[in-house]
């Protein structure tokens, strides 16, 4: 299957061309965030304050990595289940975030927000955390170190492999998969 190569930050143009089922490989800087960090990020947005990173054109990867072993950049780092971030995600897309990476379904509210604000949702293979870590070349904590594995990291990735699950047209790869493979 052909792969589309993308480099962050992402423009509307590039994001709008993505379609569900496409394989994408990402290079550049991306940010991590899970439940606790999202709560804080959205509080900042609501108070009109600046975020620890500029979300415009950026990608948030829903991950809480294991600690890096000595000499390593990061530990194992696979995606966490995305629906837990659904209450927060629309606010982030509204301020310019272009993509999120996780696993599992998004709410219709998030899907609609992505349509409206030109965003996409991508999935990495859940549980393939040791494999995924190989495409992470640099990692540093840039906010909320008190949250431990939930701190916000800035990652530099190279050919980070994902699949498009929701595109800007409102398509959903999970629904399509079941349509094709459910026994009639």
């Amino acid at each position: 299957m052909t792969q589309i190569k993308l480099t962050t930050p992402l423009s509307d143009d590039v994001v709008e061309k993505l379609r569900i089922g496409q394989r994408v490989s990402i290079s550049g800087t991306i940010y991590t965030g899970r439940d606790a960090a999202h709560k804080r990020l959205v509080e900042l947005i609501e108070q009109g304050k600046e975020l620890p990173f500029d979300p415009k054109g950026q990608i948030i990867y829903y991950v809480g990595p294991t600690p890096a072993k000595p000499g390593k950049v990061i530990g194992s780092a696979g995606p966490t289940t995305s629906y837990r971030m659904d209450p927060y995600a629309p606010k982030l897309y509204e301020v310019g975030l272009k993509a999120t990476i996780g696993k599992g379904r998004r709410s219709s509210e998030v899907i609609n927000t992505m349509k409206e604000y030109k965003g996409v949702y991508l999935t990495a293979v859940g549980g393939a955390a040791a494999l995924i870590a190989r495409s992470i070349k640099e990692a540093k904590v840039i906010a909320y170190p008190d949250l431990g594995p939930e701190a916000v990291h800035e990652l530099v990735v190279e050919d980070f492999p994902v699949i498009v699950v929701n595109d800007t047209l409102g398509g959903d790869l999970y629904d399509e998969g079941i349509k094709i493979y459910a026994a009639k």
């Binding site: 289940t81 859940g126 494999l131 995924i132």
Partner: protein, 257 residues
């Protein structure tokens, strides 16, 4: 992860009809190889430390608090082993305890003079998709099947399929949940010793793999790697059913003293 899971990936790869599904199964095998080679966790969610203790009734434990000793082991293991600390001390305040303690400890007293400790780290993604229901006795086996299949369907891609489905039927509310969790300790695909329940396991396995969810929920025939069902006596008024989902990161190890 045990060899049983790795073997089942290979079997699933052969049987899978979806190309994406095959591709994902291949990645999971590769991931397991890398994890093994580099001695790093195969999944970043190294889980809640769930510990099953079988204490021989002739064993005497001296020199301190047994549960504290287990927690100390968890503390050391998760810190020295570079595992993720995924536990918050208060479910609402949510402050990380920093060392993955406390463990959830289940203790059983058994005949004999040995001590068996099983550690089964449990990931949150699949745990969150688990469910329990108090059915009516009249709902019978069909009711049980519907509830199990419905739970897997609702979970969809979230618990990182292919999954292992643990089912507990009978007992009380908490007993059913515990049975479901214990069923996950079985070697993958090991059948129930009761012929009717083994048949139920088979039927459920077949039905679940017809759902089309597939590896990672992206479509395919490999949704479950196995279905394990445990049963217990039930009250005349009740038919409790618990479904505990486990992801392909189905990990457990035991030591016997």
């Amino acid at each position: 992860m045990g060899n049983d899971v790795l073997e089942s990936f290979k079997g699933a790869y052969e049987a899978e009809v979806s190309l994406t599904g095959k591709e994902i199964l291949q990645q999971l095998v590769k991931n397991a190889e890398i994890a093994c080679e580099e001695k790093v966790p195969m999944c970043q969610d190294t889980g809640y430390a769930v510990i099953f203790v079988e204490l021989g009734q002739d064993v005497r434990i001296e020199g301190g608090d047994f549960y504290e000793a287990i927690n100390e082991g968890v503390r050391k293991g998760y810190t020295e082993g570079y595992l993720r600390k995924s536990i918050v001390s208060h479910p609402l305040e949510r402050k990380n305890t920093g060392d993955n303690t406390p463990a959830v400890i289940h203790t059983k007293i058994v005949p004999g003079d040995s001590l068996r400790i099983i550690i089964a780290p449990k990931g949150g993604g699949s745990e969150n998709m688990s469910a329990i229901k108090m059915l009516r006795p009249a709902d019978g086996i069909e009711g049980v099947k519907n509830f199990v299949i419905d739970t897997v369907k609702k979970a969809g891609p979230n618990p990182c399929p292919p999954i292992v489905v643990g089912v507990g039927i009978g007992g009380t509310f908490e007993k059913a949940a515990q049975l479901a969790k214990e069923s996950l300790l079985r070697e993958l695909g090991e059948k129930s010793k009761y012929p009717d329940i083994a048949k139920l396991e088979e039927d459920l396995f077949e039905e679940i793999n017809k759902l089309g969810i597939g590896p990672q929920g992206l479509g395919g025939r490999t949704t479950a790697l196995a279905v394990h069902v445990e049963i217990y006596a039930a009250h005349i008024a009740s038919l409790p059913v618990a479904v505990n989902l486990n992801c392909h990161a189905a990990r457990h190890k035991e030591v016997i003293f």
